[in-house]
């Protein structure tokens, strides 16, 4: 480490003002502070800094995503070999199949996203922001495994430029960048983002008879309205037609956008985020409560007209991207509400709206993405209302004490 530091300190003057590579200053700075704690002190204003800078925050969020990520890769392999009817593969074979299936997407997301961030930082003379470290891994995780890389590249470029850089870069975006990417893909290339052919990686091999690549929510959305209530809610099956139990759903053994299927791994991630104080428990709690209440309401008044309403509330929460969105998307500190009361309202509404979209709109089998994006737009308004209510309350108090 010391040798590396000496070497880097040697080339440092070249990147400073007047140096040969002055233009690349922010690139150098980015790598330098990535490796070492900068030995700089502030000359004015605030002198005490939290050691928890945005780099460390991002790294911990990536760490908390790892369980989902590793499980997701394994699950890709599991679904693949299940679909082509080969059993008896070892865990490593399953894992590496998934790993190599998603590696190009992860690389694409990072290269395009970080590339744009670097270029913009150079143009503006800013420091390079670390915001994309998390988005880059989040984006492939919330996309189907068969998403072509060029689509991902276009979507990432669109999201980074229009949702983030035009508003001033990391920390100024009012929409979650990963979700904008997902939404762009969803609306631009619907045939590659939903349906029965994208969530299981078949890899040019023939699937066995009776195979269906639909996700449980996709299955529900494409069911014929009508029929008896009782068998609708229990008719969820995995890719080869065996029924799915709540256990399978909780641990994530079903096809879907690969990072978000396992509620169990998401809860591990949530625990890491909460223990390290990175994410806000209020948003998570109120989100789950909101989603659960809405699921109970939907289940209580279930109609065969909307098959998704027949799902048990607990299953409803474990399915699809709901938990993932609540834990990793809704808690994004930049796009969420800032006020405490606002956070409760924000999380609650995300939960409620996600389940409403999922249950009552057959066009969108999963509503978590749209719910979070919608509430992102309203976060500032909620904050404004909370603050002005508080101001009014305190004004009243002073009036009372004055009179």
């Amino acid at each position: 480490m010391k040798g590396l530091k000496r070497k880097i300190d040697q080339v440092k003057p070249k990147f400073e003002k007047g140096g040969k590579f002055e233009k690349l200053h922010s690139v150098f700075d980015g790598f330098y502070t990535f490796l070492f704690t900068p030995n700089e002190t502030s000359r004015s204003g605030v002198h005490i800094h939290d050691s928890n800078d945005s780099k460390r925050t991002m790294i911990i969020v990536v760490l908390s995503l790892l369980p989902c990520c590793l499980f997701g890769m394994w699950n890709i392999g599991y679904q693949h070999f299940l679909a082509i009817g080969e059993t008896g593969k070892s865990v490593f074979e399953l894992f590496f199949y998934g790993f190599f299936a998603v590696l190009p997407q992860i690389l694409t997301a990072y290269i395009v996203g970080l590339g744009i961030e670097f270029v913009v930082a150079q143009m503006r003379g800013h420091e390079i922001q670390e915001g994309f470290l998390v988005s880059g891994i989040l984006i492939p995780m919330i996309c189907p495994v068969d998403t072509p890389c060029w689509m991902l590249a276009i979507a990432v470029a669109f999201a980074v430029i229009f949702a983030k850089e035009v508003f001033g870069g990391t920390g100024y975006n009012f929409l979650n960048v990963a979700l904008v990417t997902r939404a762009f893909l969803f609306f631009s290339y619907p045939s590659k983002m939903s349906g029965v052919n994208v969530f299981v990686s078949l890899g040019n091999q023939r699937a066995i008879d009776g195979y269906s690549g639909a996700t449980p929510l996709g299955e529900l959305a494409s069911m014929e309205p009508g029929g008896s209530l009782s068998n609708l809610g229990e008719s969820l099956t995995n890719v080869v037609g065996d029924p799915l139990t709540l256990n399978d759903i909780f641990f994530g053994l079903y096809p879907g956008s690969w990072g978000e299927t396992s509620t169990f791994c998401i809860l591990i991630g949530a625990a890491i985020l909460l223990l390290t104080g990175m994410a806000n428990w209020r948003i998570m709690l109120s989100g789950v409560v909101g989603g659960f209440l809405m699921a109970v309401v939907a289940h209580n008044w279930a109609t065969p007209l909307y098959p998704a309403t027949c799902v048990e509330p607990l299953t409803q929460l474990c399915l699809g991207g709901f938990m993932f969105a609540i834990v990793f998307m809704a808690t994004d500190p930049v796009t969420a509400c800032r006020t405490t009361a606002g956070k409760y309202i924000y999380g609650f509404l995300i939960g409620v709206i996600a389940i409403i979209i999922r249950c009552y709109n057959a066009g969108y089998p999963e509503g978590a993405m749209l719910a979070v994006l919608l509430l992102n737009c309203f976060a500032a308004l909620i904050d404004h209302c909370v603050v002005s209510l508080n101001v009014r309350k305190r004004m009243k108090r002073t009036e009372l004490s004055n009179s």
Binding site: F162, S188, P190, S191
Partner: protein, 197 residues
Amino acid sequence: MVNPLSKDNPVIVQVLGICSALAVTAQMEPAIVMTISVTAVLAFANVIISLLRKTIPNSIRIIVQLVVVAALVVIVDQVLKAYNYEVSKALSVFIGLIITNCILMGRLEAFALNNRPWPSFLDGIGNGLGYGIILIIVSFFRELFGSGTLFGYQVFPQWWYDAGYMNNGMMILPPMALIVVACIIWVHRIKNKDLQE
């Protein structure tokens, strides 16, 4: 007449007529027909109002303007239905909605009521074209990336599609028109520093 094309463009500087710019720009042909229609209506409405400007009582001038514009729009609508029924169907209600296009009322109020017929005519042509340029640029990008065609002819070669290229469905949806307009405004403001706020 040249001013509305860039510096004083009704769409990207005054931000008028956005609604129809979203609605008719999914393909180039309707966009061009819309441009011609708006330009024609605007130019002749300007001339007529300018001729009448001394006789219109101030208190009912808006109604008079509406009547003139509505009459012209009906004529344009009928002509389109007679000679280009397909496009007229594609534009459907938006030809009728030229009446409510803010650019028209804006030009009539701000220019035709105070100027002689010939300058008013030029002003109408200029503003109509300024609106049309934006429409055509937006529809160019939307049709190219949304359907892979221009004027209905396929532009991207077939082997692109065979290799996995797909049209961008979002380009067909109206929100993308807003984003394309925003990009045009972005580029335009970079070129015209004095417009930056």
